[in-house]
Point group: C2
Chain length 231, copies 2
């Protein structure tokens, strides 16, 4: 028992000031502060009270740290999903939870919009979505495609919202006011639809859009399952 089987087990020092966990938690604290101060390596060192480059003893590079942090936030999402829901309810809860976490840690979600963590919690999310799609009545390649549709779409949605939050307030203001400014003054001849619906376009909220996007996913799955059942 005295000899570790193959690897020396790399005894991590007990008195270490920094641990992967403490670094991840500091990263989350910074990310939660929003765009006020960006999520940078030097700011991370400040938050930890150590030299910025010390984190490179625990993570190969910033990307690996980001993947670990993102997986942690995925855990938060999963914990927010109650039991006993049907497949639509589970997908809605997953979407709502993902959005909430994305708005809480925008820097993380923004960076992960087209990535894969390949870590523990991601497997749980995949299993969750797959279960929902299967319960809806899809299977095989059909279920696989629709899982990817849901997964990629959710990631893209929340990443888009998160990235938006990271812009300078003035840039964001310019984008938002465009609906009530530039779009009001377009040529009525060339753009009749914009002219006629200008008011309604300016009044659409982010939540309405998100809701519509999520329901579109659910409707698409339901429709496809119904078509297969009928065939």
């Amino acid at each position: 028992m005295s000899k570790p089987p193959v690897t020396p087990a790399r005894t991590k020092r007990v008195g270490a000031q920094l641990t992967p966990e403490s670094i991840i938690e500091a990263s989350l604290r910074i990310a939660a502060r929003g765009s006020a101060d960006a999520f940078t390596v030097r700011r991370l060192g400040e938050e930890l009270g150590t030299d910025p480059t010390a984190i490179y003893r625990h993570f190969r590079d910033k990307d690996e740290l980001l993947l670990s942090v993102a997986d942690r936030t995925l855990g938060e999402v999963l914990d927010s999903i109650p039991d006993g829901l049907d497949w639509k309810g589970r997908l809605r809860a997953l979407a709502a939870g993902s959005l909430a976490v994305a708005l809480k840690y925008p820097a993380v979600s923004s960076a992960m919009a087209s990535r894969t963590t390949r870590r523990g919690n991601e497997f749980r999310v995949v299993e969750l979505i797959l279960g929902a799609v299967l319960e809806a009545g899809l299977d095989g390649a059909e279920a696989a495609v629709h899982y990817r549709m849901v997964g990629d779409s959710l990631l893209a949605y929340v990443g888009q919202r998160a990235a938006y939050l990271l812009f300078d307030p003035e840039v964001r203001a310019a984008d938002e006011s465009s609906w009530s400014r530039e779009y009001r003054t377009v040529d009525a001849q060339g753009f009749p639809h914009i002219t006629r619906l200008g008011q309604q376009l300016a009044e659409v909220t982010h939540d309405q859009i998100f809701h519509a996007r999520v329901e579109a996913l659910i409707t698409a799955i339901e429709q496809r399952a119904g078509a297969l059942r009928g065939a």
Copy 2:
């Protein structure tokens, strides 16, 4: 006629080497080279044969240049849409054209995934989508929300794909191989769905996913219009 009305009309010099147009075109050439060399100000100066900082005489900052370049690519998308299509066909053509342009200029699309150009061609795209949604049978606030759903979704989709193309080849390879590596070795007890569908999950292509996402949008609009008609 000798006196310009109010502003001195700021006579732009005729012999200028650089013009907004030439800078935009150089930007597109660089962006089309993919992730090989990134779209940076210094590289832009190289491409133009001038000092990098010269572009600041024509654009306030890199963001404003990016907005102009993006609007130009929107023009490419619009030109690729044939006439005489019904609303579904127009949306499909818009989606396909957007994806093609995004894959052609990934740096541009990636940066614009959550932005608004507020320039000429964007109005034309908005008018196009609004027309499709109206033709499908929606109107008023309902049409406005569904327009935003389509617009934001398309932007997010293609931005996601574009951003993916910009990653280091090794990062991309790690992400792609995960489906045939990590996901094959998960615990069969805890993740039965992943275990059972592992093969199909690894075989899903980007095109299948994109197709499913676009069709989901169309289905959602159709469904909503049908529900309103019935009510």
